[in-house]
Structure formats: structure tokens, C-alpha cells
Symmetry: C2
Subunit: 401 residues, 2 copies
């Protein structure tokens, strides 16, 4: 199957990451040198921009601008949370035809892979030769097939640096500190807090992820035990924790068009659990809760070098596969070849294997109901990169006089 | 008045900062080379460690450890929020005598200056020659007399980098974003969000500080206007905003021993104002609230170079004043000599001028009820240092076909 000659279109969708623009720039670079792609267009706000024909010419961008954009968090093409209807997908295909778009690169998570999958099915039913690739990104790290997702390493780095700070802060003024971390369906990002452990008594001392059922009684008992042993307790808890019946501990009413509950951008879970702790362990206990916010995916300066590099490369790989392989559609997966030295390769995956469903943490990465395993630390460490080192005084006591 | 020969004691008190250990190390360094200070002790958890005689020997620390500690956020000596009684101050003086402590350096904010002031008065009534200096630190930047406070520049840098991220994140997925920033009594840290403005339509679009009365109606009208004009609205709001009667918009019951309400570590204010916006502007409006947490004072990697350097130097200056001047007590103030190039000098201030009361932002630094002035930006910029630059695509439209 010869690669068609025509234009390429790029869209960004879903929650942005620190490195989503690395992938954008990777696609643009590779498209420019592909030999078959004439113009490189960007759709503003993903599929919405396609439907409204809000397209921009990425060929107009200088290399310097592209490099600066690659280093900037947020979606430079702007993003969208929209699941197109079948009718809208047909309209999108008509737009592709009218602009002679033969290559579509959709940068997003599992919802975006689903959009790409539906688009590709409709295109497949017409005789229009369209190459449609999903370029993965998500701070949640919950895409199937791939070893890990571009965007995760940087968000994990932000989380780890925050817990590094909390370790020294709560050691200064002891008490219980709850940190609510993003991750609706999977605990990957919450688990990354464990990378902040440098001294044997460092936190997080307890880690709760959605992969195991959350028991409020168990939580209170865990905190009480750690507090008694260490005089302080730092807790990492996923926004998506739920009871044995699957009911979220923090309920919220807002639902997006993919059926996702809005959990982020509210301090409810942390405040609620603080109140439980004070009621059960005594009002004198110092309890503080932080709900890590959008800084997890956008704090300027948190990008992991490995993550940035991989996000860039995965954009290039998508273009190579679209222009040099026989497959008209696909997503890109990362395969880890070795951990020491850290080495990966990239591979095409069927869109339907990545679409819609998410990937929870495997049980081998967890330990009991409130911790991660050594295997998780080994998995996550290279993605986050070298972390700053906390130092302590030696605390040599002065002889009492 | 000849400087006495004896030991020095250092304590850290109040909320830690990114650079509070720079001041600690500055004191240790200067004490070691003072010629009159024999041993340098640290009190664990500030005045509490003095009363319980939990003292450590800082002379045992290598230079390498001290340098690493200086780069670590949190209080390496651990901190305390405690206002000693008169009786406890007398007990503390007895401890100083017993350990031949002739020099006390208390690193903290206005509450710590008050503790130092009380201690110095009691020491002054005895014939014991004690030099007692307050070494200022606070992310709130609300100490009187000084141009600015060590700790502020780094916290302001964290806030600015968070808003930089929000600017690109909310531009990606438009809506209203509220960020609640620390600062009970003064808006300095909230105001630092304005440093994130790089493009003309960048946020924060609205800034609310405790120096002006907060009107919920005015707030809703402001947000509605910005949202209508730009399609998005990023708001910086201090945790300490209050109505015209002085009543806090977010009320909380917990009070520490200095009479301070606990406002941080709860998402109540942001969640409350989100609900107001949804109720008044329509439930379809995307509204998200983040309450910036303890990362503001502890995120590992946010230290401003200028802030770190000044925090170190102010520790050295305190030792020089204690050992080489005639004044037995004081606090250290920073005087800004010039802004371009940025240059400061350090000066002794009377303890009582710094103790207890705080310094709000001057009206010249504010603009109306919802913004800061150009004078504030000029004031804050050198303290925070160079920020990362956000880049945008040129958005050259593709001709509709």
C-alpha cells in the first residue's frame, strides 16, 4: 500500500500534560521531512476545530517557535473533551477530504483513541485513503498495551517533588498530612509519591489507590498506627478511591460527555477525610489536607527529561508508521527493553486495543492495601529521572548540663 | 560593650520556607568564624527544644552536610508554633545560662520576633549578657520594616510557575479557574501570581487580596465580565479575603496558640466560591478551584536564587551584628538600594518593631479591588528571578476551502 501524498492534520485532546507539545512538535518535524506530506495543519481544540474548520497552518512556524512550544506545558493547539457522534465523524471525514488531509494524528488518552477508532472505521467504509494515528498522552498512565504513557513521567515528577517537600515540612511541624492525587481509574500517579522516600522514616507512609477497595475504618487504623510509631503520618490518596461496593469516597455530580465524573478541582475528599480523622483520633491532632491540583499536569518546570524525549519521539514514530508502513491506523506503544540502562522501543498497536478502557496497576506493583511494591519503584524511577536529594542534620545531642 | 565569649544557640520557628535552612547555615558559618562563639547548638523545635533541653551540636556537621541542608526546604532543626509564657521564658533563660549560651538566633516570622522580644526583655532584667537576634523568614512577606522577607521570593516563584502552568492549561480547556493562595493577613503571595502574565490575555485576570474588602457580588460580576471578554478567567484569591465587616469569606474553627485561624490545608474557600459561580453564572460553566497547598513553602525545586542567597546572607549578618555591634538584640531588615541592577543592604531593626503586627501591601502596590499595580511587579520581579517563558503557536489560519 503506497503512502498517499497529501496534507496532515494534528489535534490535541483531553487533559494536557507537561510534554504534550513535544509530541506535537515531533509530528510536525517528521511530517516536514516525510516526503509525502505537503502541508501540516493543526485543528484548534481537537475534533471541535475539525468540525468548525478552525485549522491553522503549522508550516508557518519557525523551528525556534516549535522548540519553545515543545518546552511549554498545556496543549498549544488547545484541547477539547468531546466524544463526536457518528454524524459528526462523517462530517469530520468530509472536512478531511475537502482539505486533502491524508494523515491525521490525534494526540490524547483513551477517550481520544476511541474518537480516532470511530473516525477510522468510518473512513474505512469510504474509499478515501486516510492514515489515522493516535499519539498517546496521559498523566494518568492508564492506557492499555503500552509500558507507560508520555505525560506520566513529568506528572509523577511533580508529585514526587511535592512529597519530598512534604517530608521535610511535616517533619518540621509534625502531624497528619493527606495529599489527594489525580487519577480517577488508576493509582499510577498516586503511587509515584513513593519515589519521595529517601530516609527510612520518610513518607508517604500510606498510599491508597483505586485498584484496592478503600475502607474508612482501615484508613483510620493505619493512620493511627503510623502516627503512634513516628509522630507524623503522610498519606497519598487517589481521588478515585472507592469502597468495596465501588462507590467513590468523594462523590461529585458533574459528568463530562465521556461519562467521567469531575473529581479534580475540588477539595472535598481531603477535607472529608480530615474531619473523619479529627473525629476519630481527637481534635488536637494536627491534620492537614492538600488536594493536588492542575499543577500536576501543568506546573511550569516539572517536566522529566526522559518523558519529554519520549513524547517527542513518539510523535516522530507515528509519522514514520503512517507514511512508511502498510497499516492505515494505529496507536503507538512504548515497550521497555531494559531498565539498567533504561531503554525502550516503540511499536504500532491496534486502535481498538487502546480505546475506551483503561489499565489499572497490576497487583505485583502493589503491596497490601496501603503501599506499592519494590517492582513499582523500579518501574517508575527511570520515567521520573533524578530527584533532588533532601539532607538532614546529624542530630548529635549536646550533653545535658 | 565587648562581645561575650560563649556558646550560640539557633532555633527555627513557625512555618518553614524553601530557604529557611540557608539562614541556619549562614548563622553556623559566621558563628564558626566569629572568634567569640565556642560551640554552636541547635534547639530542636525552637523554643520547645530549649525548654526540654533537646539541643544538638551543630559543630559536628561537615561543610558538605551543611551545604546540602541549605538546599533542602523545611526546617532542618524542626519547627514549632508556640508562644512561650513568661514563666517559660524565664526557664529558657535558665537553660541559656546553664549551657553558657551567650548568643541566640531565632529564625522565624513576626510571632517568633515576639517570642525573641519577650525573651530579650527578661534577659535584660537579669545581669546575664545575652545577645538575642531574630533572623526573619516568612513566605507571607508580611514582616514590618524590611523591604521583603527571606522565603517570600521562592514561594512567589512557586506561585508564579503554577499560574504559568494554569495559563496554558486553561487556554487549552477554557473555563473559570480559581486558585486560592496562602496569606492570612496580607496579599503579597497572592499578588505574585501576576508575575505569570507573559501574553496580553494571560491570567491571572483577577487578583483578590485581604488588603481590600471582598464582595461576593463584585467577584461574580468581575468573573462574568472576563469570561465574556476572553472565554476564560483565571483568578488568584488569598485565603484571607474578608467582607467589609472583616469577616473571613472562609471561616474555620481551628486556632493556634498565637490566635491564628487555620485557613490552609482545607479546600473550603475555593469550593464555596465555585458553587457560587455555578449558581449565579450557570451550571454549564466549567469552574475549577485549586487550593494551593503546602507546596507553596516546600515544593522541592522552587527556590529562587536571589532568595536563597539573601536568606544565607541574613544569617551571617545576624552573627556579625551580635558579635561586632553594641546592640544586644535586634532583627535584620533588608533595604533595597536599587532595582536595576537589583541591590540590597542589611540593617539592624529593633525587635519590637517587627514583633507581633504584620505589614499589609501598600495601596500603591494595588490597582482597584482586583489587581496589582506596575509598582508591585517591579518590586516582586527581582525576588523571584527569571521565570520560564511560555510559547504559543502563531495560529496562521488555513484558508477555508
Amino acid at each position: 500500500m503506497k503512502a498517499p501524498v497529501g496534507n496532515a492534520l494534528i489535534g490535541q485532546s483531553g487533559g494536557p500534560t507537561h510534554v504534550i507539545n513535544q509530541s506535537l512538535v515531533g509530528v510536525v518535524e517528521a511530517a516536514r521531512s516525510s516526503g509525502v506530506i505537503r502541508n501540516v495543519y493543526g485543528a484548534l481544540h481537537g475534533i471541535k476545530g475539525v468540525l468548525e474548520e478552525q485549522l491553522i497552518d503549522l508550516g508557518a512556524e519557525s523551528e525556534a517557535t516549535l522548540e519553545a512550544v515543545a518546552m511549554t506545558p498545556g496543549a498549544a493547539l488547545r484541547s477539547v473533551r468531546k466524544k463526536p457522534t457518528r454524524e459528526e465523524c462523517e462530517k469530520a471525514l468530509a472536512v478531511f477530504k475537502r482539505y486533502d488531509v491524508r494523515y491525521v494524528f490525534y494526540i490524547g488518552g483513551n477517550d481520544s483513541a476511541e474518537t480516532a477508532h470511530i473516525l477510522s472505521e468510518i473512513a474505512g467504509q469510504s474509499s478515501y485513503d486516510l492514515r489515522l494515528f493516535h499519539v498517546p498522552k496521559t498523566i494518568d498512565n492508564d492506557l492499555r498495551v503500552t509500558d507507560h504513557c508520555p505525560g506520566y513521567g513529568s506528572a509523577a515528577r511533580y508529585v514526587a517533588c511535592s512529597f519530598l517537600g512534604d517530608n521535610v515540612d511535616v517533619r518540621s511541624l509534625p502531624g497528619v498530612k493527606l495529599n489527594v492525587v489525580m487519577g480517577r481509574n488508576a493509582g499510577w500517579l498516586t503511587a509515584a509519591s513513593a519515589l519521595a522516600r529517601q530516609f527510612t522514616d520518610d513518607g508517604p507512609h500510606l498510599i491508597y489507590v483505586p485498584e484496592t477497595n478503600f475502607s474508612v475504618d482501615g484508613f483510620v487504623a493505619d493512620v493511627e498506627r503510623v502516627q503512634r510509631e513516628l509522630g507524623r503520618c503522610i498519606v497519598a490518596i487517589s481521588e478515585g478511591v472507592h469502597d468495596a461496593a465501588g462507590k467513590l469516597i468523594a462523590e461529585s455530580k458533574e459528568v463530562d460527555s465521556h461519562g467521567n465524573l469531575q473529581l479534580s478541582g475540588s477539595g472535598a475528599l481531603g477535607d472529608q477525610l480530615s474531619q473523619v480523622l479529627k473525629a476519630r483520633l481527637g481534635a488536637k491532632l494536627r491534620v492537614r489536607a492538600d488536594t493536588f491540583g492542575y499543577a500536576q499536569r501543568s506546573y511550569f518546570g516539572a517536566a522529566s527529561a526522559v518523558d519529554a524525549m519520549e513524547a517527542r519521539e513518539i510523535g516522530r514514530v507515528a509519522v514514520r508508521l503512517a507514511t512508511q508502513s502498510d497499516a492505515p491506523t494505529g496507536s503507538i506503544s512504548i515497550l521497555r527493553e531494559s531498565n539498567a540502562p533504561y531503554r525502550v522501543r516503540y511499536e504500532r498497536t491496534e486502535l481498538k486495543l487502546v480505546a475506551h478502557d483503561t489499565r489499572p496497576m497490576e497487583s505485583t506493583l502493589l503491596r497490601g492495601t496501603n503501599d506499592v511494591s519494590a517492582a513499582f519503584l523500579e518501574y517508575a524511577r527511570p520515567l521520573v529521572g533524578e530527584l533532588p536529594r533532601a539532607a538532614r542534620l546529624s542530630d548529635v545531642p549536646v550533653k545535658k548540663s
